[in-house]
Symmetry: C2
Subunit: 216 residues, 2 copies
DNA sequence: CCTACCGATCGGTAGG
DNA sequence: CCTACCGATCGGTAGG
């Protein structure tokens, strides 16, 4: 929709270089400005005039690139979702045992989420201010790619109890996403004592072995 | 702030009866109207005029009860938080074994959250539209009551691996809150197949025993 | 890409 | 002097 790959016209060069047109650069400036403001203020509290000012444009100029405020949000939602990074990662992650695989995938998930501290907020804006009306589209686009990627876990079938792959996926995402969320909220508060250094290891261990003592 | 307990003046009666004044009833109508609109539209997308209309008042009348729109939100946030119901429940829940206790507390948590389908959204509005500026106050008020309540779990110490109580609490809330959230989103979509009927049982089982096979 | 605007609506407050 | 409201309007801003 927004970024065509331009090539340098110089005949002496065989190298393709991303050479954004003026329109593409303006488009990018609008998306960046809007993204920063949405994260700070939410969607409805952010005005088109704020976006225009931060992008270095007049208000009316935005409408040369996006037909509405909502379309800007939708473009950001698709662009910032980390599934493009996370799904390939799950498919390629190695590990001799299920422990190693769970650990490496969970670490990668947390790392990717930490690398995008604002992604969570983007999803919350979608839920709160749009009543989640873009979610079905998003899930329909991602779920078919996620389930096969996670089914890879079944290659460790000999180490696993017979649990439905979808429940494996839900409990995995739920447990580690909650680790991420609680860690994020707690990290810079007096409640940091609720987050012992080895919390991540314990979450992995709980996912694999539960909280009960093994029968001796 | 809003509800004084009025008593019937009838001398022949010793029974105290909640007899809201007109002001209290108006106050209640404003809070209810604002709550419903915030849940549907979020905070910034809801106008004081909408609140007034739904409460059956003129716009200006609201300001006899609340000094600003934001103060209305703050009152709702404190009033609707389920910790008042959930914490006593965790303290009194019975169970001979840790399995029974976890199951009954998790069931009660899910039931309470299902009984308040909008509580989650209220917290999300706080995060998205207020940047969580009321959260520290909320956590400071609730955490000291939650940790002791959950420490009760340690009475089953002989059945548990040595895990820090705070991590027990975080993983418990995280896992079952995520069950609730995913269940809520999935229930009425074509993705319902991701939610086998026994999902709750499996979540309990994963929390207690993990996903690994027990060593034979 | 800008200036200049529109119909409407925003949160909050005036006097009575 | 209080409450609970009214009709009207304040200075600014909304998406387009």
């Amino acid at each position: 929709m927004f970024f065509s790959e331009a090539k340098i016209k110089n005949e002496r060069s065989f190298i393709k270089i991303e050479m954004p047109t003026k329109a593409e650069r303006t488009c990018r400036a609008i998306l960046e400005a809007a993204y920063e403001l949405f994260m700070k203020q939410g969607y409805h509290a952010t005005s088109m005039r704020q976006i225009a000012q931060r992008a270095g444009l007049a208000l009316g100029a935005i409408y040369n690139h996006f037909p509405s405020k909502q379309k800007i949000f939708e473009a950001i939602l698709l662009e910032k979702h980390p599934y493009k990074q996370i799904l390939p990662l799950m498919a390629t992650a190695g590990g001799e045992t299920v422990e190693e695989w769970v650990r490496s995938v969970a670490e990668a998930l947390i790392a990717e989420l930490n690398h995008r501290p604002d992604f969570l907020k983007l999803m919350l804006i979608e839920i709160v201010e749009f009543n989640g009306k873009h979610v079905p589209h998003l899930v329909r686009k991602i779920a078919p790619q996620a389930l096969p990627a996670f089914a890879r876990m079944r290659t460790y079938y000999r180490d696993l109890r017979p649990i439905h792959p979808a429940v494996l996926l839900r409990s995995f995402i739920g447990l580690f996403f909650s680790y991420y969320v609680t860690d994020m909220f707690i990290r810079h508060t007096p409640l940091a004592k609720l987050a012992p250094k080895d919390s991540f290891d314990v979450f992995v261990d709980i996912y694999l072995h539960g909280i009960s003592k093994e029968p001796a």
